[in-house]
């Protein structure tokens, strides 16, 4: 078989590339974390600041994922199932978070919600602080992870067509019943992929949250911000340990994606 050596070469090149860029650096982080024993690592991730950062990240995900799921499904229905005006511009706007750098997103949020911002000044008068506080971080996280559910659900909705929904209507189902009993079960895989990607993005968000949070340790720090702060403070064990927690969360997400793909294929 003449193709064999080149196929082997291709595989080695691909694996080598992945190893150099991904596996070795991530592996080293794990190694550094546990180099002085599990106890040291455990201590580093159970400091009050690290714990707070962990729960902050969980909180961001817990708010951003449901918000973007509901919005994503509703937006996809509007784009595919309605003839209402403004669909083209909405479709383009949904992709904006992909195109705009997170840092710019953060700055833009400050312009709107900061104390001098045109919505922020009104909010401040009513005792709501958005920037340098968790509401701003939630908004930033939602913004950067917004497109995933929409982008996963739109093609599925197109593919399933409207006949099943029409059949449901002629059988006496209201639009709401049709959505719950026919549309949602038909798009469930698209929604599930979208949710997983949204979770991964929300977990790892740094730039936009960094700008709007003010980075107060124990107050407005997520895990990614905590990693950076520990790193800047020359506390490498602390930075590595927090990184491992982040990486473990990400691995969980990837694992669920893989499992989902497998369930779907069978």
């Amino acid at each position: 078989m003449p193709a064999r050596p080149s196929r082997v070469g291709l595989r080695v090149a691909a694996l080598g590339y992945l190893a150099a860029l991904l596996v070795v650096p991530v592996g080293l982080v794990f190694y550094r974390t546990f180099e002085h024993g599990i106890a040291t690592a455990w201590e580093a991730v159970t400091t009050p600041e690290a714990m707070h950062a962990f729960w902050m990240t969980v909180f961001m995900v817990a708010v951003a994922v449901p918000a973007n799921t509901v919005f994503g499904v509703a937006c996809a229905l509007y784009l595919v199932r309605t003839r209402l005006p403004g669909r083209a511009i909405t479709g383009a706007a949904v992709n904006l978070p992909f195109a705009v750098s997170p840092v710019v997103v953060g700055l833009a949020l400050i312009l709107v919600y900061g104390q001098e911002g045109w919505l922020g000044s009104w909010l401040t008068e009513h005792g709501v602080q958005v920037i340098f506080s968790w509401p701003g971080m939630v908004i930033a996280t939602i913004f950067v992870s917004l497109p995933f559910v929409v982008r996963e659900v739109v093609p599925v909705l197109r593919e399933i067509g409207i006949e099943q929904e029409e059949a449901s209507r002629t059988l006496g189902a209201s639009p709401w019943q049709t959505f719950w009993r026919v549309t949602l079960p038909s798009i469930r895989w698209g929604v599930a992929y979208g949710v997983i990607l949204t979770t991964a993005r929300a977990l790892g968000e740094f730039g936009a949250v960094s700008v709007v949070s003010g980075k107060l340790a124990g107050q407005t720090q997520t895990l990614t911000l905590h990693v950076e702060e520990r790193f800047q403070a020359f506390d490498l064990p602390g930075a590595y340990a927090a990184s491992v927690v982040l990486a473990a969360l990400a691995l969980l997400v990837i694992l669920s994606l893989t499992l989902l793909q497998r369930t779907r294929e069978t």
Binding site: E163, E166, R169, T170, G172, A173, P185
Partner: protein, 318 residues
Amino acid sequence: MAIDIDHVSKRFGEFTALHDVSLTVPNGSLTALLGPSGGGKSTLLRIVAGLEEPDAGSVRISGDLMDGVPAQSRGVGFVFQHYAAFKHMSVRENVAFGLKIRKRPKAEVRRRVDDLLGLVHLDGLADRYPSQLSGGQRQRMALARALAVEPNVLLLDEPFGALDSRVREELREWLARLHDDLHVTTVFVTHDQAEAMEIAGQIVLINEGRIEQAGSPADLYERPANPFVMSFVGPVNRLGERWVRPHDVELLGEAREGSTEAMVQRIVRLGFEVRVALTLADGTPLSAQVSRVEVEELELEEGQILHVRPHRGTVFAA
């Protein structure tokens, strides 16, 4: 329940799908909306079902005005060309859908679904999923699902269009028998004139958004309103002003009164029936449909010159 369609018009952008259509479908009838694709027949059916809104005109089902009544409240059963099976539900769940929406007691749902699955010969397949069924089985499931809610009218949009010809014929006969048993007012859309002729009590021939003719199959065949109807419901020859069916062309060995000379071009034997393609002296093509016996008597062969006489024919007023 009778359906009254009163001056219904529908446009899609620049395209006029229906142009001031009025029609009555009698209670308990089996009516075919027949016509070429894109002629507006599916649009008319969907307007009756409430899946499309007419731009003008109105629909009544058993006398009740349907203006603004959503599809879910019209009490119609609708069967789609591509089945529209709920893919994530088993056959049983598909058929039970309408009953569950109506919150019928569980025992009743179960009994009724079992009865319907028996009626459509899917007894043993209740726990299968649509992807595990053949096209014909899926369409029978869809029919059971539509019948489950005891619709006032049953509407079928090209119900057998996606099936192969054998299954098609089976289901066609079966639908006719089902209609005889249930007497539910049934309207089906088809572009196949044989399908319409075979099972419909009333045929409505629709073309370019207008009704060309409505009547019994015999009416349309024997007394077509215009050349379009005549040529749509069966093959036809044109001889000057006259339109003649191939089986009304007499082949003669010698000249007689009213006959003309013609040359045999091609002979196609389809069992008992034989189709003969001829050309007249002036080059006009003519097709004749004769029996095997006649072919043998005349000793027909290609290239032969003989005499033809149309013994009936229709002249339409210009």
